[in-house]
Amino acid sequence: MPSHLATFIRWLLVPVALTVAAALLYVVARRLLKWNGRQALGLAMVSPWIIGFLVFTAYPLIYSFYLSFTENNLFGRTKWVGLDNYIRLFTVDYEFWPSVRITLLYALLSLPIGVIGALLIAMLLNNKIRGIGVFRTIYFLPAVLPEVAVALLWRWMFNSEVGIINYVLSPFFKLFGIGKPDWFGDADFVLAAFIIMSVWGIFGTNTVVFLAGLQGVPRSLYEAAQIDGAGAFRRFLHITVPQISPVILLQVIMGMIGALQIFTIAMFVRPTSAAGKFMNQLVYERGFAQLDMGEASAIAWVLFVIILALTLLVFRSTPFWVHYETDVRR
């Protein structure tokens, strides 16, 4: 309990300090920068975020980049080693490439399933049928379940001996004369198991976002197309998809970033390490189990660069498929 109290007191002091800092910024903006009252007030109001950003995002970002060129074991001093960490990762580290491989494959394979699946489910839920409210609630449940529970539940369902997934699939196994796969214990099945698990994620937030997008498409467009004799599939391709393409873009980017950062689920599912560890798992292990902060930072930066590159690639492709409402009005 005393440590709870000490934390509580420090927790109370932080807003006081932030208010003082905001007041100081206000004075500086008014006196030194000659801003008007509203401008200075605006700066003061957003200053908690700016301070948080500088201390907990900008500085750590630069510092981890620096750390990736050093040797640091958390307690000793930091030693500059140049590109050694990266060279070691790219050449001799036997865990690095398998980790990049499984992380990328998982993200790239689960992403289209997630986005297309969520869109199809949203279209299904966009029908006016009786009891649709109840179904929407049920379809949102997977998103509500905490990751820890999701991971343990799936690990149990994937149990090789008595899991229900192998039970449901056992007729197929018999048909092809193969034994029950050890999903998380056999390196060949780990990726497949993770992708199957990711299907669970198409229900929930993505579906809700798509549903809102679908409901925003003007009815008149569909009616006009129907009069012109466009079938359901063509209406989907030429009206629905362009109209909600900004939503698709958002889902692709957020889904990709999320999938590349998979961590908690992998920690609780504990797949065999022979299949490769996800990159964030490797960052955690190198950093906090082996206390090799330099190498952990280098892995984190490789992941960051991968995310940046893929995001830029997606943005570069937007002129070809994303349709903004303003284009029409012009």
């Binding site: 440590s3 934390t7 420090r10 927790w11 807003p15 932030l18 401008q39 007030l41 605006g42 700066l43 109001m45 957003v46 908690p48 975020w49 700016i50 948080g52 201390v55 907990f56 995002t57 750590p60 970002l61 981890s64 750390l67 029908n127 049928i129 649709i132 949102f140 509500v144 379940l145 905490p146 990751e147 820890v148 343990l152 539940l153 799936w154 149990w156 369902m157 001996e161 899991g163 039970y167 229900f203 937030t205 809700v208 976002v209 549903l211 809102a212 129907q226 359901a232 958002l250 957020m254 908690t264 920690m267 609780f268 960052v283 955690y284 950093g287 930072s297 984190a300 992941l303 960051f304």
Partner: protein
């Protein structure tokens, strides 16, 4: 799916029949998928109530017979989960309060005030949503280590005062933007200062957004695993999730699945209840921004 040409050629009666088939197909699909979603939940509960011997039955037993309710207290008492629940509630409460207070103020600042560079600052804020958490993880840890606060709850709750979640700021700002300017102006003409306007005029108007942020923040803190895992070194300070991690056992240990499913059910319960109570705000919050946390 009926094509329009076929419809017109075959006349209205076959069109009606087609529509009925289509509706039936939709019903069947919607129900089938709902079952697919509910089966894992049922399986979780079913395993939680089974005896250890029955868990490993083949074919699997769907309905526990008899249901072993004792599993619930037994699993809960197998580790000091009372303590862990207390710690988790403590972190969740401090985190949500700080997050709400700071995010609301910052969002109001971004929505209603302009200063040189404010657009760029907001763009940077949006960009941080794409930043992988692990890139800043190690230096952040080193910062807290320098303050001597690793092992305390501080790294998990102090930062919330700096409006940590860019998503929350974005959501709240979008809500503020929907409010008419006349509201602010009227309050100002009545002689209210910015703080009075903010507290008495703006905050009551964005109550749905505040609720949405509260729910998201609750879920965020309740589900957090990495933070407590690296910062809490003392067993007495573990949260539910970290407790679960060690409850799961070592790499080569066979987990006790009925107990783990009990704990999974219990960990899911608060979030599930919150969802059922406040479903509207949950979904409004997501659709309003078109994003997820």
């Amino acid at each position: 799916m009926a094509s329009t040409h076929a419809m017109t050629r075959r006349g209205p009666s076959s069109y009606k029949l087609m529509r009925q088939w289509y509706r039936a197909l939709i019903y069947v699909t919607v129900i089938a998928l709902a079952v697919v979603i509910l089966v894992p939940f049922f399986w979780m509960l079913s395993t939680a109530l089974q005896e250890e011997g029955d868990i490993f039955a083949w074919p699997p037993k769907w309905i526990p017979d008899p249901p072993i309710w004792r599993n619930f207290p037994d699993a809960w008492n197998a580790m000091p989960f009372n303590l862990y629940l207390g710690n988790t509630v403590y972190i969740v409460a401090l985190g949500i309060i700080a997050e709400l207070a700071s995010a609301t103020l910052v969002a109001y600042g971004f929505a209603r005030f302009r200063f040189p560079g404010s657009e760029i600052v907001f763009l940077i804020l949006l960009a941080t949503m794409m930043l992988p958490f692990h890139v800043t993880l190690i230096p952040t840890y080193l910062i807290w280590q320098k303050f001597g606060l690793v092992g305390e709850f501080d790294p998990l709750v102090l930062r919330a005062w700096t409006a940590w979640g860019p998503f929350y700021i974005f959501l709240l700002r979008q809500f503020f933007l929907t409010l008419p300017r006349e509201l602010d102006d009227a309050a100002e003409i009545d002689g209210a200062n910015w703080l009075q306007t903010f507290v008495h005029v703006m905050l009551p108007q964005i109550r749905p957004a505040l609720l949405a942020v509260t729910i998201f923040a609750f879920r965020g803190y309740w589900n957090d695993f990495l933070g407590p895992l690296i910062y809490l070194t003392d067993m007495k300070k573990y949260t539910m999730n970290v407790g679960m991690y060690f409850f799961m056992g070592g790499v080569n240990e066979a987990p006790q699945w009925n107990y783990l499913m009990v704990m999974s059910t219990l960990i899911a319960l608060p979030v599930l209840v919150l969802f059922f109570v406040a479903q509207r705000y949950f979904i409004e919050g997501i659709t309003f921004t078109g994003m997820k946390d």
